[in-house]
């Protein structure tokens, strides 16, 4: 089964580095999108039914959807030239931004497990990024 049309061609160094940057941007937009959607979803909890109007006029939810769409677009732009095996794990950076945003906005504390996890994810992305420059 061959899903790749032209992929086995080696990706030029600069392009690969650009793809990592695009996924980095994708996570920067994806994290606030998640926080906004969670905030927006809370506003819907009190409704007995899911009204279309209630969803459409829910500004945090709509803003979250828009940011999510934009972040998906960045991911697609990155995948156009970059390797999936390199770029997909980088999306884990979203966990880092979500933890930081939750700490800043809803004052959710970053305990030692989360702190350790954030450190490991950042280190892992750094290793992947270094490898992509070769």
């Amino acid at each position: 089964m061959s899903l790749a049309a032209t992929n086995s061609v080696a990706v030029p160094e600069k392009r690969s580095w650009r793809s990592v940057g695009l996924v980095f941007g994708c996570t920067l937009l994806g994290a606030p999108a998640q926080v906004l959607m969670k905030t927006g979803a809370k506003g819907l909890e009190n409704l007995g039914h899911l009204g279309v109007l209630a969803v459409l006029t829910n500004i945090p939810l709509m803003a979250g959807f828009v940011l999510y769409g934009l972040s998906a677009l960045l991911l697609v732009m990155a995948l156009k030239d970059g390797e999936l095996s390199l770029l997909y794990p980088v999306i884990a950076l979203t966990y880092v931004w979500v933890a930081i945003l939750s700490w800043l906005i809803i004052h959710e504390q970053i305990n030692s497990w989360k702190g350790l996890g954030i450190g490991l994810i950042v280190a892992g992305v750094a290793v992947l990024g270094r490898g992509s420059r070769r």
Partner: protein
């Protein structure tokens, strides 16, 4: 351990179809090399659809009484599936940096799950 097995299966299934979402997104994205008009192709649409479907299963699986510390490592399995498919379908090379980077990220996701109890 009070995480129901049904929730584990939901998360496992979500990680599995999510990894196929990534595969179709990648193969659809390659169509864009021919021009931006190719943004609307069935591979990208299927990839996005599989992602949405997988998040529905994630949300169902991660609901209480599920423990995130148990389920997050299973969420991380999605990274391993995706790595397998990248090598299998796109003939991507499995380098030492990818191995170490992925290992650190998996350990990190596990720790974030432990801290989310």
């Amino acid at each position: 351990m009070k995480t129901p097995v049904s929730h584990m299966l939901l998360v496992l299934f979500a990680s599995f179809i999510g990894s196929f979402g990534a595969v179709f997104l990648k193969s659809g994205a390659e169509q864009l090399r021919k021009g931006w008009l190719y943004l609307f192709n069935w591979r990208l649409a299927l990839g996005a659809g599989l992602f949405v479907l997988s998040s529905v299963f994630y949300i169902m699986g991660l609901r209480p009484p599920a423990e995130l510390s148990v389920l997050y490592p299973m969420v991380a399995l999605g990274y391993i599936w995706t790595l397998l498919w990248s090598c299998l379908f796109f003939k991507e090379r499995f380098t030492r940096e990818k191995f170490i980077g992925l290992f650190l990220i998996l350990a990190g996701v596990f720790c974030v799950g432990m801290g989310s109890r």
